[in-house]
Amino acid sequence: MIDHYLYLAVILFVIGALGVMIRRNALVAFMSVELMLNAANLALVAFAFQHGKLDGQVASFFVMVVAAAEVVVGLGIIVSIYKTRRSTSVDNANLLNR
């Protein structure tokens, strides 16, 4: 049964990774990163269940807190970019690619 959770976690992680690489909107890319973190959470909890230990479940709380902190910083940066350029497309942020 543990296998199914693990497969789901891997699928979610791959969807997230593809989202970051394919989607051009910084907000959507960021949401995809959050999906990757939650995929890792699912894997942690599933393994904790398999090993009959609690530390994996506790770790998932750490991850949630870190993810929340990341949202604060990330949205701050994305909003400041949006206010300047009226766009959150990562393709428009290309001043440094010269």
Partner: protein, 513 residues
């Protein structure tokens, strides 16, 4: 519960001062805030370093905080290096004389660049004094990162060091669009790579049933699960670590972020992040996964060769000073990693093992980086820093002292004998050679000759070029001069007389399990 206050004091002082900084932000009057913040920052780092020395001399060590951190030789050495180099880098943050009485950070980051609100904020001489607590938080995370002995602590430390850096990258006073863009790129790619790191942590937890590095090492010796999950976990963990070091193919952010970020922050990032990340990589690979050496060595060797090639060859084509140093930092990441991949242990004939060699190299590279980026803040035209290499032309005639010191840093990056860089290169190459990677050392020596071309080109431009118009050397205060002079002195002394620091690194060079 028994809590090791004294052993943890260096980290606690730094993080405590960061929290104190937030309170100061709320309570202190605006006129004095900058001085108070800078003072608290400097004092806290000095106090932390004092605790460190006292603890090291008293021989305090072993597992801390219920086994989540390990205070051993490498931790002590890296904490010491982080505190010294971090202090040098953060001192440059406090420079105000160069900018006409304000710091190099934006007056108000929340305002839109070019708007009236921004003009008003600059006219009112507003300053973001939050950079000091942010830098302290980052420094605290960097100290925990290489000392963490379980993967969850390591992940939290990784985020604690990264998040403030993302913010600081976007806070430049001039060229704010570039700065914001650098912050966005660093943030998105950094968050992406730490998601890989975390999934790697989850897989290794699944494999070993524990987050502790030594439990993972035991599980590698006596496997209870298939190897696939271990190798996948190892690979994903490495993605997160190598991203922070800036190893190819995870180096793409380096040139853009180094160029866009405020130069003082670039200096801080260039060395302190690299030091912490190399330390954590060493600990993960040598403590938890040394039984899997035959898996990670071939992967790393390929990446290292690619890193050195990209760093040295792409560096040749750059026209911007900060971008050139960014490619140089990629090349140096490759040189440091040659020692890591060698995984050589100390023997009576050559007591310098891989850990000691990498740590010594990082110190030498760090001194030169901090000095070089501090000098970059001094060379200016009317609109701010003059970063194009062309505008550094003829600097030797305008200010022989500044150009001479910068040339010394370039020679140390090159690895010319009688500079610290030479001893550092010799140490890492010896460690790689001893680990059985003789061909890699030959490749590395050839590529360091290629990289020498762009360092020496800068020296030639500075001393033999026609003086560029409108570019002057700004009158910097002691906050910039002190790090510049101390790092120049450090490089010269380590080049002629490396014994004490090499001995210290050698003595510190073994991880406890």
């Amino acid at each position: 519960m028994n809590f090791e206050w004294q052993a943890l004091a260096p980290v606690l002082v730094v993080l405590g001062a960061a929290i104190l900084g937030i309170l100061i932000e709320a309570a202190a009057p605006k006129a004095h805030r900058f001085a108070i913040q800078a003072g608290v920052t400097v004092v806290s780092i000095v106090v932390a370093a004092t605790f460190l020395v006292v603890n090291w001399r008293a021989g305090i060590g072993g597992p801390l905080a219920m086994g989540s951190m390990m205070l051993d030789g490498p931790s002590y050495f890296m904490w010491g290096a982080l505190l010294v180099l971090g202090l040098g880098a953060i001192l440059v943050f406090a420079e105000r004389q160069l900018n006409g009485g304000v710091s190099a950070f934006a007056a108000s980051v929340a305002t839109v660049p070019g708007s009236r609100a921004e003009a008003e904020a600059s006219a009112a001489k507003l300053e973001h004094t939050e950079v000091f607590p942010l830098a302290l938080f980052a420094l605290g995370g960097m100290m925990v990162f290489p000392a963490a002995s379980d993967l969850i602590t390591m992940f939290v430390a990784l985020e604690v060091l990264s998040l403030p850096l993302y913010l600081m990258c976007g806070m430049a006073r001039r060229r704010r669009l570039l700065s914001q863009e650098a912050a966005l790129k660093y943030f998105l790619l950094g968050a992406f790579s730490s998601a890989f790191f975390l999934f790697g942590v989850a897989l290794l937890y699944g494999y070993a049933g524990s987050f502790e590095l030594k439990a993972i090492a035991d599980a590698v010796q006596n496997p209870t699960m298939g190897r696939g999950i271990l190798v996948a976990g190892l690979a994903m963990l490495l993605v997160g670590l190598l991203f922070k070091i800036g190893v190819v193919p995870f180096h793409n952010w380096t040139p853009d972020v180094y160029t866009g970020a405020p130069t003082a922050v670039t200096g801080f990032m260039a060395i302190c992040t690299k030091l912490a990340a190399v330390g954590a990589t060493l600990r993960v690979l040598y403590v938890a996964l040394s039984g899997e050496r035959w898996t990670w060595q071939p992967i790393l060797v390929v990446l290292i060769v690619a890193t050195m090639v990209v760093g040295s060859v792409w560096g040749l084509t750059q026209t911007d000073m900060k971008r050139t140093l960014a490619y140089s930092s990629i090349a140096h990441a490759g040189f440091i990693m040659t020692a890591v991949v060698g995984a050589s242990t100390a023997s009576p004939t050559s007591p310098l093992d891989s850990v000691a060699a990498a740590m010594f190299y990082l110190v030498v590279y760090g001194l030169a980086s901090i000095g070089a980026f501090a000098v970059i803040t001094m060379v200016r035209n009317p609109s701010g820093e003059a970063n194009a290499i062309a505008s550094w032309s003829g600097l030797g005639r305008k200010s022989p002292l500044v150009a001479g010191i910068f040339a010394l840093f370039m020679l140390s990056f090159t690895g010319i004998p009688l500079t610290g860089g030479f001893i550092g290169k010799w140490a890492v190459f010896a460690a790689a050679w001893q680990g059985g990677f003789d061909w890699l050392v030959i490749v590395a020596v050839v590529l360091s000759l290629v990289a020498a071309v762009f360092y020496l080109r800068i020296v030639v431009v500075m001393f033999f070029g026609e003086p560029a118009e409108g570019v002057t050397v700004g009158r910097a205060s002691a906050f910039t001069w002190l790090p510049v002079l101390v790092s120049a002195l450090g490089i010269a002394v380590l080049g002629v007389f490396p014994g004490p620091v090499l001995d210290l690194a050698t003595m510190a060079g073994t991880f406890l399990r």
